[in-house]
Symmetry: C2
Subunit: 207 residues, 2 copies
Amino acid sequence: MAVKARFYRCEGCGLRFPALEEVGKCPACGGGVVRGGERGLETDAEHPSEPLFPPCSAVLENLRSAWNVGSIFRTADAAGWSHLHLCGITPAPPHPGISKTALGAERCVSWSYHPDAVEVIERLRKEGWTVWVLETGGEPWHPEDPIPEGPFTLVVGNELAGVDPEILSLAHRVVELPMRGCKRSLNVSVAFGVLALGISLRRLTPR
Amino acid sequence: MAVKARFYRCEGCGLRFPALEEVGKCPACGGGVVRGGERGLETDAEHPSEPLFPPCSAVLENLRSAWNVGSIFRTADAAGWSHLHLCGITPAPPHPGISKTALGAERCVSWSYHPDAVEVIERLRKEGWTVWVLETGGEPWHPEDPIPEGPFTLVVGNELAGVDPEILSLAHRVVELPMRGCKRSLNVSVAFGVLALGISLRRLTPR
């Protein structure tokens, strides 16, 4: 469906804001508004899937939050990743929390459920997949580091507990995102996005 | 506070799962469990802030979701970014939705509120900041592209409407994250994270 975003500025309080409908007055102060630019939006476009080859996949080991799972589905789809292995207590589709943040991507990226992430990772290793784990305390990741070749899977773990120590010993590499600031923590779906896009964009366009 | 994560495997259904307390039986099937590894966790650690210099900041132009704002606070803190300019209808602290996803980072990263993002960006340009906008239709971003030098600000826009067209003409550069898959959309806080960490990690450790 094609809809239009319109951009306004209030002559009273100076609020500059977008709206998907025609607007006559400022939502903040009720003052008169001046219309600025506009943009057409494709709200429900579906494109043919173009997964990366060699394939990339992820192992979601005991994620707690359905919103994080949904967000990872959305990012995996955008990054051209082929499959998600949902393990342990990780919520699986159909789930309203996953749908809320996946926005349909949970129907584009294939997935499977496994009670035990260790068994999945042992199998992936035997099948020739390179396994990286994203976990605090790993080697610092740098955006210009060499990226894995061939079939690749990235493991992310529970939001509080982190990745099961038995999995760390199965990984070809454990990486962390170096952090500054006072909290030094990243949402798992944001951290997944940094690595997934960081690898996918370089696989797509090698320099 | 130091707490411990414990990792278990159920001898009945095979579920492998973490827990922050001692667990005697499987939460899925009630079967007996075998204890695996464990990990100490720092749950409320606060570190001294180490912002990047030259500074990085962001302009949040009319974000709708307080959760996205909170998530960007958390990522900005982790990436060593100094300041968020919250503009238009963007929710500002204190806000329960922001706290839910910022997890305290909203108290570590300074912020200011501005009704009109255009005025902020015009001022930042005059003060010597390099302004990039993250928006669909921009130049494809590549993780090995040259990164901005000097004070840098990244503009992200409304989840549905995108960035106000008047802002695009004020930017030194408009970039997009190339996407594959069927949905070709990224959550704004994930997209912010990809670019923020992609730039910060290279500023921290130039190659």
